[in-house]
Symmetry: C5
Subunit: 354 residues, 5 copies
């Protein structure tokens, strides 16, 4: 994931407000869709020419413009100009290295969020940047690519489920925020599963593979934390703003999303603590096993080396070695060896090595 | 315990206020009991039809409605509607993954708590979510299952012990809070016992089992902390609220519960520090033991390997080896071996390995 | 010390204000002594019947009632009722598991402190709870058992040393606080001595005993910190209170005690850091020694195993082994062995293992 | 890098305001360049005599005086006197050991920054101190040596790119700040690359070289953090100042730089966490490998030492050893040896050592 | 250094304000010197009888009374009484265990500082306590022994360098503070040198000596931090005080000392981080080396133990061992041994152990 930091530098030195896409290069067409609704009407369309978006600014209905793909800075620029978005914010939209943040302008609120998804194939968390511009009667959302967690929201609008169709743009913004935060729980679930699967091997069978998974989990927690932590302030910021853009009735819902965010952060911290603990335990566990290995070695060595020595003595070729001629010499030596062996076993038994 | 996080995700995308039970699935019947009292009267009954609860809202006596089982969202919904509880709160009640929290509405306070119990069979801490709705003359408590720490409170109401019968709903709420917090001390006691039992093995006999117990204790402290820490703010919140629901006379009792909560948190932190210290000590202790094992091995090897080599020399079959023919050759070699052996012992004695 | 947490649970479920002694059971008689003084008069007596204490409440002289032993809840209850102490505070007095704390009532201040003493026999820190009730012209102190750090204060009152006889009850309270805090320095001295004695063995001769002492020191620092840390807020609380009970002239003395408390906390933190560092150093130190042991083993093995192998070759009984028949075969082999031995020594010398 | 702290001490004892250059000694000539511009005019020149700078103070155009080289205290002194800069600040300018800081005087703001560059040859981060004096219509920048990150800003002024030519000295100051902060991203990229390259060896092939790189990365993070962390306060200070020197229109740009600074700090913290985690993983990883080594040793020893012992027995020269005379004795012994060998292999297989 | 805590306890129980010298016992005579000056006059003398100090209190010139040696409580007491210093402060002056602190009285400010010096012989940091009493036109400084960092200040007064002779007592106090803080840089330099010298051995050649130096450095950082950290608040306290004793013109100089103090603290923290990192690296480094040692051992054992076994087989004395009679038996066995040896070497080469 640190790769993501590499491309920021190509911006160094440009005048502020210059739109340069900073992120993985993409070739797909930018897709812009509009959902416009009030309690009784609903219009949904994909935009072909970008100026189709313009008239919705003045309509009293709630308009949700969703932009999939931010690599075409031209599209962003046009929408930005029409909706009066500050050039520095447009720069933030196309730069996918932003921290989650909230900027409050008089006419609109600007939010940067991180949308997480789990790539089942590569067992990796994917981070996508979502920017929201919340105006009095419109919400514009910018995403890096198609595919998102907003389908249930679209569905609720289409089917007029819940009270979304009766509420304003601020409630729509809340619904989107809520969808993003709900997505985090899915990720945490995956991580929770992996933590649990490692836990089992941790003490009974610690090895390099366990270590690698712990190491990756640790790194993932670092990145996850970095994406989610600032969200706390963003959402608490939105709900406390005395902006006229956020109606009071939406406040309680925002407080609910805030509670969920705290819960996510709390779980991340818990997982972080657990993963840290696992690394410590892994080290102790490996030392433990090495101890076992060493004991096996020592027991073998301590028993057989003296015996081999005794055998070695009577393998010497001195012409005068009285024991060699004794009738029972061989058996006496065997008995001595058995005695040594048994004493050693008793000694190690007492030391609790056996 | 991380399992508990898994089911949250099935809610992702639903409109807010949709009641979905998030928790271990249960089939038992929901049991609703009512205790209604004032200084002179006491009525206690189990509810058969849920609308038996409704009339108590208007009565001037103090009413305690206790709901055991929250998987039947229908029951929750009906009570909620009758008592005017906000749909988002009902959602919180049936979602057992909440953090302890306090929400202040004009007509009632809403608290989420974690009630802990120790499962003697599985040596595990069980966490149960308890939600309290505190109205002007009623308290509604929602629990996940039957069996709780509230029996002493019921008993005090029945026998009119202490001043509970003379006080209002806020005092009842305090009594319930106090019972929950007192329950924590029982858990801490169990953990204290286990910490102590591990301490003894820690330095004298550290092994994988010790490590496992420390690892589990550490995990339990993480979860315990997570359950109790937010309680601090919840209780301090209740006692500072300028809500008309909390009479001034109850304030001092709430401050007392607050003191207990601080004491619980303090003890958890102390235990956490101790358990962390134990993991470090365990590692050092194992290294220590490995050192001992290594010394034994080295002493055996360093003494017998040279001796075996000497024996090996005189086991060679060269036709011309003058020593072999000497009359006392064998005994001279034995003497040399004894000298080597004694010198090594003196050497290791000096090195303090013996 | 965690034992102390065990008995708290027997209170679970009782109505608040129920006096139950929580602490080590005791059978000794409760001893109540009174010192009553002003600038010119001094009266000192041991109380036989508890109601002898009552009249002092109204006297304008400064009265110090000291209660040794809190297991007789009856005595506590009677004094409490006479001096108008809130039942919850009486409960705190007899429960020795309190954290240091300050409660401000209109007529009196209530303080809980921990008095530390060092048990020379068992090399253990003993913690005793002291509760102070500070009224306008009286101070009541409750201790767990006879024997305390207050004798110098008694002495100063008796001999009219310093200005204690000229000042009010607040100054007396200050003197008691000061005596408790001064006692901490004695404990820190003992711990400092033990830290120093371990330091010496730490690098030159680390073993299981060193580890054990470090482990105990660490635990003691945890408990010490827990006893002293909240004291900071307690004393700063007393000196900032705009209570009429604390005269302005006493303020500067309280600030002095506060400075001492900070100094104690500071030293505890310093010791904690040192002890933590010692554990890390101990682990490194043991690894260091293991390295030494391993080197000895490896040097012996690497020198003698090849030599033994060479001896083994010429111990084989093949009928056709030309070297065996050579005149100088034996001596050539001995020379080869010496060469191997010397090369290995040079090799290890170069590796700096010797 | 700690070397940089050495030269501070030569100042000890001098009266405040004495200009002494503290930093690596330099012999290059001090180079002073002036860029003076407004929307329509642009004048750029290198100063030969220092008093050429003086008249720009009064001109209404924006003037940027850049001083490369601060070892010639005379030059600094003259400029300082002319522009009315406080002697203590001049002292700070020539002392390269400053922390980033902001001083607010009525007539000008004074900033100390650290400009980072990556020395490709020595794989080292170079830290250069940049001081900015921001007046109503001028900015004076002091650098330690020629070569900086300001060229893009110069370019923008020359080509009138963006709105820099239309704005005042405060915007110029912002542009310089932005250039410095943008430079940090380049450094972070380099470090990110190195972290990634180490990650690969960490578990598969940990050795002393890996350790060394981790150790250096850790040190670099410590120094980087130290340079950047105080910048946060500096920039937030500039943007919050109610100084008349900073126009409101520049505020949003400063907030943007502030966001970037936070992002840099955030990344540094992330890297720090990663590098710390890597050290822990490295230790576990090495222990893991040692375990492998030990297993190999133990398997060899445990198989061959008993076998050698058996061979030793029948190498003894007792005159009466019945087995020696048996016809199949030799083959029976070989069979026994094979059995021992196979049993050991099965044993280690079961222990999962193979 | 913990020794310094031992003597505090001898004060336990004494009434407040009792002057008892707490510190290393000293026998040298107390030396009191006076420097009295204004812009045009300068008087400097050593005091023979202590009452020579008294008249300076009323003089309008700036007077600096320096007391070397605080073990003669009589001298302290007399000066204290004459200059109206509170008895508790006198107690602080003679007790060398104070934390750096600032007390603000109406007529004077009281400061406790720690002056550090490096004992070249014992390679140890010496800590000396300096107390300053700052009155409207006098500064009294108390030191533990002769020899200090104030000579440059004396020199500046004598030679009228800088503006010290034109300023008041507050500027003199600043100059003394500045001298103390500048002294810290010297200490940090020494520590920086030692850190660097250890760094070199850390990875290439870690041993018990390296560990010992790291351990001492760590302890020194703990003590250093403890001495300097509270200074931050002290100096920021002095500069923020709205005391009439500190003129506004001195404010900017105090802010400068404050900046230096922050810089010192910053460097201490950096060093602490570095030293902590070094301990971790040391452990990893030792484990690394042990790995190397183990590999050498294992390679030797794994090659020669099987070979010795083979030799052992053909050393057996069975009467029927067909191979022994073969013409080329011996050479075949030698060839087999060579093969085993080479296979092992290839095996270890592949494992990257060679």
């Amino acid at each position: 994931m640190p790769k993501s930091l590499r491309r920021k530098s190509k911006k160094a030195g440009l005048p502020p407000g210059t739109l340069i896409h900073v992120g993985a290069p993409k070739t797909a067409r930018v897709k812009v869709t509009i959902i416009d609704y009030d309690e009784s009407n609903l219009q949904e369309k994909e935009v072909v020419k970008i100026d189709e978006c313009y008239p919705f600014k003045e309509k009293s209905t709630v308009t949700w413009i969703n932009v999939d793909g931010i690599h075409d800075v031209d599209v962003i620029d046009k929408i930005g100009k029409n909706y009066g978005i500050h050039p520095l914010l447009l720069e933030d939209i196309v730069n996918t290295e932003q921290r989650p943040k909230l900027d409050d302008f008089e006419d609109y609120l600007f939010l940067v969020l991180k949308m997480l998804s789990y790539d089942e194939k590569q067992h990796e968390i994917k981070i996508e940047q979502v920017s929201l511009v919340i105006g009095p009667n419109y919400v514009i959302s910018f995403q890096e690519r198609e595919g998102d967690v907003f389908d249930p929201v679209r569905d609720r609008i289409r089917r007029a489920k819940g009270k979304i169709r009766k509420m304003g743009a601020d409630y729509l913004a809340y619904a989107l925020l809520d969808a993003v935060v709900d997505g985090y729980f899915l990720i945490l679930e995956k991580i929770g599963d992996r933590i649990e699967s490692v836990e089992e091997d941790l003490i009974s069978n610690p090895d390099a593979k366990t270590l690698q998974i712990i190491h990756y989990l640790k790194r993932e927690m670092i990145f996850l934390r970095r994406s989610v932590w600032p969200l706390r302030e963003v959402i608490s910021g939105v709900s406390r703003k005395e902006s006229t853009l956020i109606r009071e009735s939406t406040g309680i819902f925002l407080r609910d999303v805030y509670d969920h965010t705290i819960q996510v952060i709390d779980t991340i911290e818990t997982y972080r603590d657990m993963v840290s603990g696992m690394l410590d335990t892994h080290l102790s566990s490996i030392s433990n096993r090495m101890n076992e290995v060493m004991k096996v070695l020592t027991i073998f060595a301590a028993i057989f080396i003296p015996l081999t020595f005794v055998a070695g003595i009577y393998g010497m070729n001195f012409s005068y070695m009285p024991e060699l001629g004794w009738r029972w010499g061989y058996f006496v030596v065997l008995a001595i060896m058995a005695t040594i062996c048994i004493s050693m076993l008793i000694y190690f038994k007492r030391k609790k090595w056996l």
